[in-house]
Structures are given as C-alpha cells and as structure tokens.
C-alpha cells in the first residue's frame, strides 16, 4: 500500500507559533522516548513485548488537546504515546517498562498495561478489541451520572474484525453514548494487511453503518487529527452520541521487537517515512517561518533532558518486594 497525498489546500491552517511548537514537541517527545525504549530493550533493561508507535505520533498528540482532564481514556498495548501525550509522567512510564515499583502500574503491567488514575487512563489493553466494551461502559457511567465527559477509545484496525468491535459500535450507537472511537489504521495487524483481513477495507464506512458520524482522517498530519478530534469531541459533548475517526497512519517500526517484517517491503516503509508526521510538520513550520534550526535544537535538547531524567528515575526506582506479590489481586479494605 502506498500513501495517498493530501493536497496542500486540504490541510488545516497552522495555529499560532507556540501552539504549533507544542505539537511538534509532543511528537518528538514520544519519538525520542520510544527510540530510547528500543535501545533499552536491546540492553535488556526492558523485557516482554514492546510495541512502538513510531510513525503514528500525530494521533495521540493531535487528539489529547481536545480532551479534558475529566475524560476517560482506553488504549491498547501500543500506548506509550497516548500515555505521554495524556500527561502521565515520563519517569513513571519508563519505570513501568523496567518493571519497577515506581512504575505507573507498580511493575504489574509493563509496556502493554500503563494505567493512571490521576489522568483517567484506563490502561493499555493487550486483548485486541478488549478495550472497546470498557469504553462503552465508561461512557455509560458518565451519562448515567450526568457528567458531560467523553470516553476516548484507541484501537488498531485489526480490532475491526473482532466481534467486540461490532458489539461495541452497536451498543454505543444504540444508547447514544459519548464514546470517541479512534481507530488507528496503520494497514497491518502484525503481518496481516488490511485487505487480507477485511471484506470491506473502508473502515469508517463500517462505523457509519451503525448510525454514528464517521470520518477518515489523514493521520500523518497532526493538524488534521486535531481538527477531526475537535469536531468529534464537540459533537459528542453536544449530545450527538458516539463519533468514529478512522485515523490513517503507518507504523515505521516492526510490530514488536520480534518481527522480521516479512510481510512488507522496504520501499513501502520508506515511502511512508517521507510522509512521517514529524518531518512533514517540521517542514511546514519551516516554510511558514515558525521553526528554525535553533528552535528545533532547543526542543531536542529539552526532550533529551526529560528522557534522560526518566531513565534515571527508572534506574533509581526500587523493585517491588516479592513479599508484595499477591497485593492488589483484590481490593485491600483498609479502615476507610
């Protein structure tokens, strides 16, 4: 599959400089964090499965500013970007990768299961499709308690073949619930290309068939993602029910650290990299006179410091004592 070009006139207008640089910084932050994770994986500091979202950073960075702190988020095992963009501290995320007690899930979850009550981040879910019903329920809880919040649910296009996807589409639409469905269509589910798993590859049309508003978005463009997410969250908050965004993107890295990438060729990956969300956005900012070498170097240096500090935090964090192994299987009821 080759990327399709958006024409220049389709592109949303640039925001003012500070906001534009925030978006760029947000994407670079995720990119550099994940590059460090890959390095630490090779150094055996991080183990288990590690799924990088490199190439897809425009999605979390575009979506998160449209959510408020009271909104709930459900994500998948490829969720580092979402956690960081949501505002979870990078140190706690890195420490989780290490399996340390200072990790955001106390070392119980690892890369695939980042959780954070403070930002209403209900986890990386590693069952494909398994998070969608949770988001429907979170949205139901908001509605039943008369709160105006949105439940945002990220998932890959692989989930579209699962029954839980269809059940959740139906339930959310039937009950007119405030769910923002965010389908990250990176064209491959592990090694299975979309056209090998879907009889109809037009995913946003499937969602529309459930009677909800649905859009396909060029998710290599952080502004396009942001604009679509803005439309979606406004409609949801106005009581219009669920909204579906098919975010067309591409993963530049292997599925996980165990993937020889037999199912796609280098030319295809290279073509998509040309359209990468960071290069294209940087280019656009330069052309508009909003970014120069010095500003970029400043962002890189700032991000490098944060990543270094996160690694130092993870290194310094304690291991959970084995004596606490069985902790948190059930809720310990202390004298409340």
């Amino acid at each position: 599959m080759t990327p399709t070009e958006a024409t220049n006139d389709d592109r949303p207008a640039l925001p003012e400089r500070a906001q534009a640089l925030d978006l760029l910084r947000g994407m670079i932050r995720i990119r550099r964090f994940e590059e460090k994770c890959a390095e630490l994986y090779s150094a055996m500091k991080i183990r288990g499965f590690l799924h990088l979202c490199i190439g897809e950073e425009a999605i979390p960075v575009g979506v998160m500013p449209t959510l408020v702190p009271e909104d709930a988020i459900v994500a998948t095992y490829r969720e580092h970007g979402h956690a960081l963009a949501r505002g979870m501290p990078m140190g706690a995320v890195m420490a989780e990768m290490y399996g340390k007690a200072g990790g955001c899930s106390r070392g119980r979850g690892g890369s695939m299961h980042l959780f954070d009550a403070a930002t209403r981040f209900y986890g990386g879910n590693a069952i494909v499709g398994g998070g969608l019903p949770l988001a429907v329920g979170l949205a139901l809880a908001e509605r039943m308690q008369g709160r105006p919040n949105v439940a945002a649910c990220f998932f890959g296009e692989g989930a579209v073949a699962e029954g839980e996807f269809h059940e959740s589409m139906n339930l959310a639409a039937l009950w007119n619930l405030p769910v923002l469905f965010l389908c990250e269509n990176n064209l491959y589910a592990m090694g299975t290309a979309l056209q090998l798993s879907e009889s109809n590859t037009d995913i946003h049309a499937k969602a529309a068939s459930y009677g909800m508003t649905s859009e396909a978005v060029d998710a290599m463009d952080v502004l396009a993602v942001g604009a679509a997410a803005r439309r979606a969250t406004e409609a949801i908050r106005a009581g219009e029910g669920p909204y579906f965004l098919e975010l067309r993107t591409y993963r530049f890295r292997p599925h996980s650290m165990f993937d020889p990438e037999l199912y796609r060729n280098k030319e295809e990956v290279e073509a998509w990299k040309q359209r990468g969300p960071i290069v294209t956005f940087s280019q656009r900012l330069r052309e508009a006179g909003l970014l120069d070498d010095a500003a970029l170097a400043g962002i890189e240096a700032e991000v490098a410091r944060e990543v270094d500090a996160a690694v130092a935090f993870a290194e310094a964090s304690e291991w959970e004592p084995v004596g606490d192994l069985a902790r948190d299987v059930y809720t310990e009821e202390d004298a409340a």
């Binding site: 899930s105 398994g130 019903p133 949770l134 948190d328 059930y330």
Partner: protein, 336 residues
C-alpha cells in the same frame, strides 16, 4: 409482589422473589446501582427474576441489552470503573462463555495490572445448572471454572436467605463478584425473616451438623445432599452437610474443621468430575487434613458427558440423592 407477610415476622417467598427483593432493595438504596442484560426489562428476565422492575425503576436502570454478552459485560466493567455499581445479568452460564474475555482478561486483572489503582465493583448474576431437559448448551455448571480465576469472587446462593442476602454483600464488595443462581432453585419456596438482609459471602455454612461424614456441596446440589443426609440418618449414619456458599475464596477453615471432626468427606458437585472444584477441595483436604482422615475422600460429580436431553439420561448424568447415599455407604462400608 407475591411475597406475603406472614405471622411471626417472616415472609413466604420463592427463591426468584428473594432475588427480586434483593434487586429492588439495591436499586432503591443506591442510585449508582442498575441492572443490565438481555431481556431483563420488557420481558421481565428470562427466569422472570426482574419482572416488574422496569415499571418501578425505568429503562435507564433496568436496561435491556442487545445479544452481545461480551460488550455488555465489558460495559459493566467500564461502568464500574466509571463510578457506577452495575449488576449484569447473563441469561445462563453457557452464554457467559461469549463474555469470558471480558470477565477473565479485564474484570479479574485490572485491579492487579493497574498496580491497585482501579477496582471493579461489578456484580454479574447468571443462571447455572442442569435438570430441566435443556440439553447440552443450556445445562452446564461452570462456576468451578470461574473459581479458578484470581481477581474475582464466585458465590453460589443455595438457600432463600442467601438468594435474598448475597446480592447486597456482593454490591458492597469492591471487586467483581459472580453470583451463580442454580435455575432449579428459582421456584423453591419457603419462609425467611421479613427483615432478612445482607449475609456474609466469606464463610461456608454447616446446614446440618453431623458426626460421621462431611458432605460438602453448594448451589443446586444442596437440597439433594440434605435429602441424602436425612435418608442416611435412617441407616444410623449421621452426616454433616457443608454448604460452601462461596467457591472463591474457599473457606478452608469451615471445610477442614468439619472434616477433622467427622474424619470422612464426600464432595458433591454438579460440575464434571475431572479438574473441577471437587478436585480442588479434595486436594486441600489432602494437604491439610490427611492424617485426620479415616477414609479416602470421595466425590459425586456430573458424569463426563455433555448433558443429554432425555430425562432418564439427564438424571443419570447429574449428581442425585441416591448416588450421594451410595457414595457414603461405600465410604462407611469400606472404612467404617
């Protein structure tokens, strides 16, 4: 409703009415409580448990769902995460298999996987058991399977008091509780105190004290086991009947206390023999009371066949009073 106040501060009612009274009380007591499931509203519940509740509480709180076990159970989990106290009804344990992903991968794990940040105060009720000539896809007793899973609680009300009282305790529990209602019990009739309310869901109960042998059972087999004990009394065998009430966590203290007194045990379990809850209880007795035994521990379980339709075959497949009696006679005869 049909439950009438009788003299002496008791009321006569059926098991079904006891569950309904518990539901009504929970819905009245806490605005966060709602009931959702297939046909719980307009139809009145497939076992007529929730008949009338729609009129009293309205469609938001008596919520009919589409036929999508996975998503409405998952939505229950999400709603619990979002601050509600959902009661999800699944028509029968057989259909819960379509939701087992949500129960096992989400409900049971999120507390631990999030490092203790999120509890899931969810109650799932379902009918279980055979004996109604419904054949192999409506007659299973899989509660023992669920009892395998850390992170959830499994309770099996066998009496009217427990049918009335376990729901409130389950709702008060901060973690997921599965309530298995043996469908043969719904028409059981009796009297309970008019002010019957919450009962503990931690302890097994001795339903009939005895000196010679411990008959350890739960749910739909309790009545058969008590009948066997009565009949054995006529033969001079004084059987103690232990109602497990809760399959996870098992109440080792009550089980082992009984076995140490009687020095013999027969487990009666409507699940299949192999790899079942009966095997687990036998193992615990072996581990903790081996030297207190006067005879090998025995069990009466379902035969290892999909439950057949024809009455005589189904009867032969399930634990029955005469089988329990024979098992005890064998034990006493060989070793008494």
């Amino acid at each position: 409703m049909t439950a009438q106040t009788a003299n002496g501060g008791t009321i006569a009612l059926t098991y079904r009415e006891a569950v309904r009274a518990a539901l009504r009380e929970a819905l009245e007591a806490d605005p966060r409580v709602f009931l959702m499931g297939e046909d719980v509203g307009r139809y009145g519940g497939c076992y007529a448990v929730s008949t009338g509740l729609l009129a009293e509480f309205g469609p938001e709180r008596i919520r009919d769902t589409p036929l999508s076990e996975s998503s409405f159970v998952g939505a229950g989990i999400g709603a619990a995460l979002g601050g509600m106290r959902p009661i999800v009804e699944i028509m029968t344990v057989n259909f819960s298999l379509l939701a087992i992903d949500q129960i096992v991968n989400n409900a049971a794990t999120i507390r631990h996987m999030s490092g203790g940040q999120f509890s899931i105060p969810l109650v799932i009720r379902m009918a279980t058991g055979g004996g109604r000539q419904l054949a192999a896809q409506h007659s299973h007793s899989l509660e023992g399977w669920y009892a395998h899973i850390p992170g959830i609680r499994v309770v099996t009300p066998a009496t009217l008091e427990d049918a009335r009282g376990m729901l409130a305790s389950a709702l008060a529990c901060p973690d997921p509780v599965l309530i298995f209602e043996n469908a043969l019990l719904y028409n059981d009739k009796g009297e309970i105190p008019a002010d019957a309310g919450a009962v503990d869901i931690d302890r097994a109960a001795i339903r009939r004290p005895g000196r010679d042998v411990s008959l350890i059972t739960y749910g739909g087999s309790l009545g058969k086991t008590l009948a066997a004990a009565e009949s054995l009394a006529g033969q001079g065998v004084d059987a103690e009947v232990v109602d497990l009430r809760t399959l996870r966590p098992l109440d080792d203290a009550t089980i082992l206390g009984s076995v140490r007194r009687t020095r013999r045990a027969v487990i009666v379990d409507e699940g299949w023999r192999s790899v079942g809850i009966a095997a687990e209880i036998m193992a615990r007795i072996m581990e903790q009371a081996f030297y207190d035994l006067d005879a090998p521990v025995a069990r009466v379980c379902s035969e290892e066949v999909p439950i057949p339709y024809a009455k005589h075959l189904e009867d032969a497949a399930l634990p029955q009073t005469d089988k329990i009696i024979r098992a005890v006679e064998h034990l006493m005869g060989n070793h008494g």
